[in-house]
Subunit: 548 residues, 2 copies
Amino acid sequence: QRTIKSPTGNELSCKSWLTEAPMRMLMNNLHPDVAENPHELVVYGGIGRAARTWEDYDQIVASLQALEDDETLLVQSGKPVGVFRTHSNAPRVLIANSNLVPHWATWDHFNELDKKGLAMYGQMTAGSWIYIGSQGIVQGTYETFVEAGRQHFDGSLTGRWILTAGLGGMGGAQPLAAVMAGACCLAVECDETRADFRLRTRYVDAKTHDLDEALAMIEEWTGKGEAKSVALIGNAADVYPELVRRGVRPDIVTDQTSAHDPIHGYLPQNWTVAEWKGKQETDPKAVEKAARASMKTHVAAMVDFWNAGVPTLDYGNNIRQVALEEGLENAFAFPGFVPAYIRPLFCRGVGPFRWAALSGDPEDIYKTDAKVKEILADDKHLHNWLDMARERIAFQGLPARICWVGLGVRDKLGLAFNEMVRNGELSAPIVIGRDHLDSGSVASPNRETESMRDGSDAVSDWPLLNALLNTASGATWVSLHHGGGVGMGFSQHSGMVICCDGTKEADERIARVLWNDPATGVMRHADAGYPDALDCARENGLNLPGIL
Amino acid sequence: QRTIKSPTGNELSCKSWLTEAPMRMLMNNLHPDVAENPHELVVYGGIGRAARTWEDYDQIVASLQALEDDETLLVQSGKPVGVFRTHSNAPRVLIANSNLVPHWATWDHFNELDKKGLAMYGQMTAGSWIYIGSQGIVQGTYETFVEAGRQHFDGSLTGRWILTAGLGGMGGAQPLAAVMAGACCLAVECDETRADFRLRTRYVDAKTHDLDEALAMIEEWTGKGEAKSVALIGNAADVYPELVRRGVRPDIVTDQTSAHDPIHGYLPQNWTVAEWKGKQETDPKAVEKAARASMKTHVAAMVDFWNAGVPTLDYGNNIRQVALEEGLENAFAFPGFVPAYIRPLFCRGVGPFRWAALSGDPEDIYKTDAKVKEILADDKHLHNWLDMARERIAFQGLPARICWVGLGVRDKLGLAFNEMVRNGELSAPIVIGRDHLDSGSVASPNRETESMRDGSDAVSDWPLLNALLNTASGATWVSLHHGGGVGMGFSQHSGMVICCDGTKEADERIARVLWNDPATGVMRHADAGYPDALDCARENGLNLPGIL
Ligand SMILES: NC(=O)c1ccc[n+]([C@@H]2O[C@H](COP(=O)([O-])OP(=O)(O)OC[C@H]3O[C@@H](n4cnc5c(N)ncnc54)[C@H](O)[C@@H]3O)[C@@H](O)[C@H]2O)c1
Ligand SMILES: NC(=O)c1ccc[n+]([C@@H]2O[C@H](COP(=O)([O-])OP(=O)(O)OC[C@H]3O[C@@H](n4cnc5c(N)ncnc54)[C@H](O)[C@@H]3O)[C@@H](O)[C@H]2O)c1
């Protein structure tokens, strides 16, 4: 069993920072503090992997170490398949993961290919090497909860509590984000080891096996106006309906089990975790059937909460779709989180912008935090986020930071960071990337593009154009994935990462990529007719021939 | 009603040849001698369009005319949506057409979007502006028929005849290709105007409304050993079963109706063409139902021929899939043309390489023909093709040539053409492109990737990587399409075109793009385990880390 940790410091093991960067970030994705199951190369989100096999991992690393400044490595579903001559402003790595011709784009066909060693599930940032641990989702979740507080509770979540489930790679961010937003949180998690991991990293405050005890804690904390969280070991498909039966009324209800993957992601009712893991190998069809039935029960309870007037949201795991397919006709009664809370941000190209310090030195991130505050001197909300993040979020692997910012800000920050690398303020280069869940990079009708104003939810030209443009603009690596958080058949999305190596050439690439990338999001939403996006496009002088 | 013709000569209407080239090729796709239905922007293959609307067309042209050397235009399903700053070695145009998230990738959903003005069907080379009229498919069809002759008739098709249907944009090449390969051809076409168009351009030799007359001609010609062709006005779904009933035995059976599009592509039995066109607007569901039933009858007759020992092949229109869905269980009894005849070529990166003279001057093409013969002095088969093509193929729109060549040849030819532009041998720049139906650019399990050795038919990472790499290598325009010849849900594919403007910078881009592009095809087939591809990769020194 191998343990992978990225090198730190400013000595190169590759021929340049543009190849060192993807190598370190690949390794960082598999760091034991970052990945959910590093021994099987699983980073997060069910079976989201960083490389197809250990042999492929080794060959990717070796290829990156040998790669020249005018070469590009192609990675096909986690396998390095070719090195080609390109040029210095081309990406060093191009990645395509889990893409299937639509008619065959099902879990059944994917699993068949996976068994033959012909596939890999890339999730979003797992196979594209820009996962930075749970912090990555904390701000998104925080922004969502804060926005829900604005819409439903006059801007204050004090004395309120959120019911959710799933404390995995992404879902584990929920109790912390809730607390940061001022709310209490009860998170149901079936796998005790996951809850323990969140306790250790201070993402959750308490743990219990007993529903009564959990509710008592919530009652005490909300009564006192304290923001605290508890993990309840149990099955969400049992707990949610039980709460409905008891007439317990949370203030917000959501869920982040890995429902997008009915075999590996969701524990069926009345199964032990051990049985579940075993049967995933020996009888996956039985797991799938039982899991899907439980999801229906789970969603039915969520619909009950919704009908009782509790703000309820799908948190991007496609659980409503499964329930619908299982016959729950009103499964889509409650909305997804994007149309409910995130779309206004997307209209301005605002999304989960992030960066990591290749030095491994937390000071480098603190210095960038200070720089962000300096550049965005008036953004109180962002200052607050940065302060809380520093106080509450333990770094995992390479130190990293996430800030939801948009068009016109991203390129400024990137250029400032590159300047800090150049003048030695930072001890090594920085990489800048984002989640695939971003404004211009994803087509996902049950999540990011749910209920688009013009009905273009399923049009996936947009993420493809985004990837092509990022390639043409000189991102350091670019990826195109299918599946991701909502599972096979339900989304296509693209990623990009750019390395600030301190050079003047990097300035030019950064200026292009970090402008163009969020601009494609503004463009996509402007094309759909959102007035905010049209305004943003005009204010920023975008040239959108068929749109403006 | 507008008539579009590309400017010719060597004066620019755009700011450089790199933008003039896509503008002229877009216009050329809509030239009245090139496009099947230019007034509706339809180039070929049912509803394959070059731009979404006339307004979009005008805006694309205006954008190209204004585009700078460091800008890139994005086209989304035939609509120009953005102009972004890139750099001189980036593509000038990036195109994504008809892409849909897999779960929604159906004709029903596409048509709904199309009706709302949110979609465009790009086919393969229609929406990517490198259709060159029927010549484009003549050599592919010729190579297929020749290979069938090799496999089944000891290398000679003299005295043999081919039964086929469909004389549209692509299918119209069949009688000519058959004749070039030495065979006779009976082509059933329901729309007399289509047959007349082929008569005018000398692609077919005779026309009749009477089956007996057609068979008499075939009998006479095959008896004399003459290679000639006849168009029979009729419905293939009537004629094929009738031939089976009569016990008539063609030597090869195929079909190229637009079966991939059940509403616009296939005339139902017992309908007139006028009824069909009308109902496409007023009752598309009824058309679809009737067309699908007729296709089943049509395929059933093809299976009968196959069972009687007649070499029978699907020619890439997905008609077997429809028949299967309609309940014809043995619809896939006979193979597609790729696994049967084309795959060995794909293993060496050989595919439908093509170029066009932006000057509009046929002499430019004749000079390139001579250059090809000079460079490939020993390739008798290719010399023969070039001679026949010059003799028999009337240019449509801008003069163009197609040659199936592969890795190691394409870049040589490209560099030679660029040199000829530079030294004034040619009167204006040349563009070089290819069909999306090529070795590394398509995932299409019922056609190009049918029955792959390792079962990876549906993996579409490959065309996505191909598009990303062509973008990174500096092709002049790059496209990613869904659908195409086999219809919604059944394929994903990519295109590229590069302009030889005579500059030294173009030399570098040409050397990269025309090497890398076919190399991805060799890579894809090597990964699937084809010994020919593995040999070709080794011989050419490809660096394929996880494969070799
Ligand atoms: N909203 C977003 O921005 C976003 C982003 C990424 C991922 N996602 C989606 O969120 C989901 C969770 O992602 P993740 O990375 O945390 O996945 P994960 O697989 O790491 O964690 C899922 C957790 O749910 C637990 N679980 C499974 N079944 C359960 C049940 N019946 N009751 C209680 N707990 C159960 C598992 O034990 C596991 O800890 C995925 O579907 C993912 O695709 C959403
Ligand atoms: N094999 C290849 O390399 C390749 C390449 C491109 C396209 N294709 C596929 O081949 C098909 C034909 O392409 P195209 O560009 O010629 O399309 P097209 O639409 O221009 O032509 C189709 C022709 O078939 C005729 N037709 C329709 N129904 C008929 C019937 N029942 N009986 C007789 N004739 C009938 C139509 O009148 C039309 O002329 C398409 O499905 C296309 O996707 C194959």
